[in-house]
Symmetry: C2
């Protein structure tokens, strides 16, 4: 039986072996929700970029540029990291270069491993992602982006929700998947939104007036494709 493991923080990713495994990167608030939203709305591709300075250079290549630091839009960028505001006519058929505090680093790390596919995970297409992983049948690593290397509740919750969808077909391995699954059980009881009102990132986003991004990011299955990293770009695949 293939396995599922959960990396709760990028700080500990070196202790995991991704060899030949499918890796799902998750940064619910908000990078992977924004990526999903942009692609669903018609962007051609999203290029995750580590540095803001490097992101700016992609403008000359005809890309739109998006990004945040500490949750706020970087000055002079076309977009921040809001999954709602990225749904803008300007992005149709364009490639976006996106840099964020936590999420983009995870794609960069996963690319350096000898993994199989790298997927971008969010609640917006969790069932399609789960189905793809089942069809593939390979071992799985769910990699939570966290917040500045700390473990966070929302990415852990997504990991638990994905584990729940996978658990009949895979063996959940390690305390990371145990903890994530438990968080999902607790959050399910009161509802994900109520649950996450106690988390750090909710308070941070509320401080920016970005509560609506939270509601948006917690929608389940608003589209039915997966998102794959191919040649360093994230694209939709039906």
């Amino acid at each position: 039986v293939p396995t599922v493991e959960v990396i709760l923080s990028p700080a500990i990713c070196e202790t995991f072996d991704c060899d030949q495994k499918n890796v799902v990167v998750v940064d619910i608030f908000r990078a992977t929700s924004t990526i999903a939203s942009a692609l669903m709305y018609g962007a051609k591709a999203v290029l995750p970029v580590l540095k803001a300075s490097e992101t700016i250079e992609y403008r000359e290549k005809g890309y739109l540029i998006a990004g945040e630091r500490d949750g706020q839009q970087i000055e002079g960028f076309d977009f921040g990291n809001s999954p709602r505001l990225i749904q803008d006519q300007r992005i149709k058929d364009k490639t976006l270069a996106l840099t964020t505090t936590n999420g983009t680093k995870c794609f960069s790390w996963a690319e350096k491993t000898n993994c199989n596919n790298i997927l971008s995970g969010s609640f917006l297409n969790i069932s399609a992602t789960s189905q793809f992983l089942k069809n593939s049948g390979k071992d799985i690593i769910i990699m939570c982006a966290g917040w500045k290397n700390r473990v966070n509740a929302e990415d852990t919750l997504y990991a638990g929700a994905l584990c729940k969808l996978l658990k009949d077909d895979f063996s959940l391995q390690g305390d990371g998947s145990l903890i994530a699954s438990d968080i999902e059980v607790q959050a399910q009881k009161v509802g994900y939104l109520s649950y996450l009102k106690n988390c750090n990132h909710y308070q941070r986003l509320k401080g920016f007036g970005a509560e609506k991004d939270i509601d948006f990011s917690l929608q389940h299955d608003i589209f039915n494709s997966i998102i794959l990293l191919q040649e360093s770009k994230l694209i939709l695949q039906s």
Copy 2:
């Protein structure tokens, strides 16, 4: 209101500020349970030591030496890291030098910070520890030793149990304390021992025939003193 934060893995401790806070180091399976057991049984003090080679040097100074690597007793050492087997007549009034895979590193790290008191935490004296922390009234950091930098279920569970005892007098801060508290709720439902039967470390210890150490370590409040690090040594304080 003073705060409680939980560090789920030593890999992320640098993202936390311990300044003037009381730090509780926890390594339930088994370093901090073994430390508690030894002191309760009459050892004079326990000196946490990082390296096995360094630990051996303390023998010449009249110390007994104890330690494990990957869960197993180091060859030639007086003791391994079993909280049951450490209860031996030989340890009475002796100082033990102890080196373990995860726990001893945390004491070393905490000592380098500008924290207030450093406590060794285990279920064996959780109520005394909680009472001391309440009387002190300072902000608290609960530092989980984990397993080779990975987050583990048993230390997270202890952190949640201690948060539960502190929550009326302190403000629980950060997703670490949220996650730990949720794990405790889940574990409480089925009983701690049943809960931990699914965790990595249970399986590892079972493989060594050390299940009885698990039962031992999950006993609550078998003594009523706290354990403090003073001049690099852990001692009982009533």
